[in-house]
């Protein structure tokens, strides 16, 4: 029972990350009709916003290290700690929450820049060309990050106050042995909040209503005199913000490296395909569903029956869905069916 409960939690928090990336992917596909293979790279850039912020906050003065005698080595003490003592240390400790605030305008700007300078020229081109150009863009972003930050993962810590594990078992009567990291619980909550915010924006604001109308019938909306292209540009920026925030929040879970985006991109595309291309609700539902399936398939009991199932389960589900219901679980009729 404990193991099942923990795997459900694992699946939900993994699914939260999948859903956030897939949400942006499907939003861009639904509005602009663009298959954006650079979306994983945007997630990675978001994570590196946190890394950059940490580098800025920990800018240090170098003092010669007397413990190294073979050559000149230096110890580093952050300026913030020198100037503000414990307050400076606390600011450094809260680097991830600070990065969330900073990354919103950065990711919005990056998204708009990408859309205006490159993506918009490919709206009327084939999906194959869109994939090629966005994949190329992803490689450029990856290599840029590698040039500046190196190839190894860079650890970024959650604030000390939430660094440990929550005795979640004792909350629900499963005993003290059932614990779960605080930060992963926060991540799960965060993804629910962000997903709700995106849905609220699209469903309960006039701006969102126009965007949805544009998704359904772009020509009619344009005939009404609405500059739908500008709104779609903002939607692209919004998708970048969602992916970027997912990346920032994921840094304490997984030390980011330049290749992280590619690792998530493939999974997220599978999520979008399973959920239904262009379906926002489908992307979210499939994200959580596949996260949970992946977690359960990793259990020893399951692997002893079907060895290696944990490595193929997501793709297996995608194959079954594509064969039996090509438009995905909640996809619009006609999409991907021809």
């Amino acid at each position: 029972m404990d193991a099942i409960f923990l795997q459900i939690l694992n699946g939900l928090d993994k699914g939260g990350a999948y859903a956030l990336i897939a949400l942006g992917l499907t939003l861009v596909f639904g509005t602009l009709g663009v298959v954006n293979f650079a979306h994983g790279a945007i997630f990675m850039v978001g994570a590196f916003c946190a890394v950059t912020m940490e580098k800025i906050l920990t800018l240090s003065v170098k003092v010669k290290d007397p413990s190294v005698t073979f050559f000149d080595a230096y110890k580093e003490t952050p300026y913030l700690e020198l100037w503000f003592g414990n307050t400076g240390s606390a600011i450094i400790d809260w680097v991830v929450p600070i990065s969330i605030v900073v990354s919103i305008p950065v990711m919005l700007g990056l998204g708009i820049l990408m859309e205006r300078s490159l993506i918009r020229y490919f709206y009327k081109r084939s999906h194959a060309e869109q994939i090629l150009v966005t994949f190329g863009l992803a490689i450029v972003l990856q290599e840029l990050v590698k040039t500046f930050f190196g190839a190894n993962p860079i650890p970024v810590s959650a604030p000390d106050i939430v660094a440990g594990s929550a005795a979640i078992g004792s909350w629900i009567g499963l005993g003290d042995a059932v614990v779960y990291p605080w930060w992963r619980l926060i991540y799960l909550l965060f993804s629910v909040v962000i997903i709700s915010a995106v849905f609220s924006f699209l469903n309960f604001t006039t701006y969102g209503m126009v965007v949805r109308a544009g998704m359904a019938d772009r020509e009619t909306v344009e005939l009404l005199g609405i500059d739908i292209e500008r709104r779609f540009t903002i939607v692209f920026g919004l998708a970048a913000v969602v992916a970027g925030l997912a990346g920032v929040m994921y840094t304490p879970v997984l030390p980011p490296d330049y290749h992280q985006g590619m690792d998530f991109l493939v999974l997220s595309f599978v999520v979008v395909v399973v959920g239904g291309m262009g379906s926002l609700r489908g992307a979210v539902a499939a994200g959580f569903l596949l996260g949970i399936l992946q977690s359960f398939s990793s259990m020893t009991e399951v692997k002893s029956i079907i060895p290696g199932i944990d490595q193929i389960i997501i793709y297996l589900v995608a194959v079954i869905i594509l064969l039996t219901r090509p438009r995905g679980l909640m996809g619009r009729r006609g999409v991907m069916e021809n």
């Binding site: 413990s67 190196g150 993962p153 650890p155 594990s165 990291p181 879970v253 290749h259």
Partner: protein, 454 residues
């Protein structure tokens, strides 16, 4: 009249037969000497032969992209430093401490050392393609480098086929000098079996002999052999193995593999992971509170059998207090280590990693073997390396065992430092395990070296 008769009797068919016979005889006559001298010719020629060139080319095949690119960059720094020292530039580094030493600082056999580089991408096929290009296009006399056992085994196989010596970089699988060993392949780095033999007594001293271990293992050749070796070594000291779980390489999020550990009854988690996987699995295991957990009345412990400073750097605070083994560490105070760290530190501003050390040493050992052989002919160089005993290169007295081309030397047991004094001061040496404790019979892991001449 008679002449005419003769001419008339020579038919067209006879002329054709005669021509065919003459041509055949001419071909046989011309090629017969080649048949007798063919083997003699091949015996003297070899790939990478610099001939009358004034320089010799070495091939540095390292991961320049991919998850081990930082390790590859450090290997490349070490190779460049080795080339510098071999050519008589810089302070000479370990050329001043190596014993016995036939190197004179004038290149190798009087030829200036040059190099070409390749990118393994930590992928076997890419590494093989890169090595093949170096051998065929750049005419390298020796290939070296790599940060993965999968890559080492693949490139070593290619080098055996092509008759070019491969001085392996960082590879820790028992298979490299076990079932996949090759006559043309040599490994200076230690292996998984040695890690187990060195680590187990320290684990017993630190954590006792009544422990239950849970293994998470990278699902490829290195992970399998390390799991096997560590499992055997810990069971020998009385530990029970609760479970062994294989994880995909590059899994990223290991949470679904870590949560079952919580209720498994295990009180030790052994992470048979390396590089990015180790950084991720260790960080996440600590996030799940395993380091602070009490199980079976004992404090839960995490062990990382193969450790490196670069990995400790990636794992940050999570690495503190974690035990493991390493091939070499920059803080060693012997003459060889100090000479190398000084050269490397002055050149690049930070100390070398264990990968850099093993690559630097491999290059010098190859060069020295050529000097001893008096030729670049690989079969002669191989004979010099086989059974070669040396010292002054950072690991104490070391033997390149002839039977499997595995180096035997002391192994270091290290621990993630609780209070680092500098950015590089991340590991502390807990114990120097003497070579005798990690030795094993040469035929233990099977394999055949293959012929000297290919």
């Amino acid at each position: 009249m008679s002449e005419n008769k003769i001419i008339r009797n020579v038919s067209r068919r006879t002329v054709l037969k005669g021509s065919a016979l003459t041509t055949g005889a001419a071909i046989i006559g011309a090629t017969a000497p080649m048949h007798f001298i063919r083997n003699a010719y091949a015996a003297d020629s070899f790939r990478g032969d610099p001939g009358s060139n004034k320089s010799i080319v070495l091939g540095f095949n390292v991961p320049q992209t991919g998850p081990y690119a930082d390790e590859g960059a450090d290997e490349l720094r070490a190779y460049k430093l080795a080339v510098k020292h071999l050519n008589g530039e810089g302070d000479g580094g370990m050329l001043n401490t190596m014993k016995p030493n036939n190197l004179k600082g004038n290149g190798i056999l009087g030829k200036k050392v040059e190099f070409v580089t390749g990118d393994t991408q930590t992928k076997s096929d890419a590494a093989r393609a890169s090595a093949k290009r170096m051998i065929e296009k750049d005419n390298v006399a020796m290939v070296t480098g790599g940060s993965s056992s999968g890559v080492a085994v693949a490139v070593q196989g290619l080098c055996q086929e092509m008759g070019v010596i491969f001085m392996a970089g960082l590879t820790h699988s028992n298979d490299t000098t076990g079932k996949d060993k090759k006559r043309y392949g040599f490994r200076h780095f230690f292996n998984a079996y040695m890690s187990g033999q060195a680590l187990a007594p320290v684990l017993k001293d630190e954590y006792g002999s009544d422990r239950k271990a849970y293994h998470l293992t990278a699902d490829y050749t290195w992970g399998w052999t390390q799991e096997e070796s560590i499992k055997a070594a810990t069971e020998n000291i009385g530990w029970e193995t609760v479970n062994t779980v294989r994880t995909p390489v590059g899994a990223g999020d290991f949470s679904q593999y870590i949560t079952p550990v919580l209720n498994s009854g295990a009180d030790v988690l052994i992470l048979n992971h390396y590089g990015k996987d180790m950084v991720n699995s260790l960080t996440q295991a600590v996030q799940f509170g395993l380091k602070d957990k009490m199980v079976n009345g004992k404090k839960f412990e995490i062990v990382v059998p193969l450790y490196s400073r670069l990995m400790a750097q990636g794992a940050g605070d999570a690495a503190k207090g974690i035990l493991g083994t390493t091939n070499w560490h920059w803080s060693l105070t012997d003459d060889g280590s100090q000479a190398f760290v000084k050269s490397f530190g002055q050149e690049y501003g930070f100390p070398p990693s264990q990968a850099a050390h093993t690559c630097y040493v491999q290059t010098l050992l190859y060069a020295n073997a050529c000097e001893m052989a008096g030729t670049f002919a690989p079969w002669e160089v191989i004979k010099q390396l086989e059974g070669y005993e040396f010292d002054g290169m950072g690991n104490g007295p070391t033997l390149y065992r002839a039977e499997d081309h595995q180096c035997f030397k002391d192994v270091l047991v290290v621990r993630g430092k609780e209070k680092p004094q500098s950015n590089f001061d991340l590991l502390e040496v807990v114990k120097h395990v003497p070579r005798a404790q990690v030795e094993y019979p040469a035929d233990m892991f099977g394999g055949e070296l293959g012929p000297y001449k290919v």
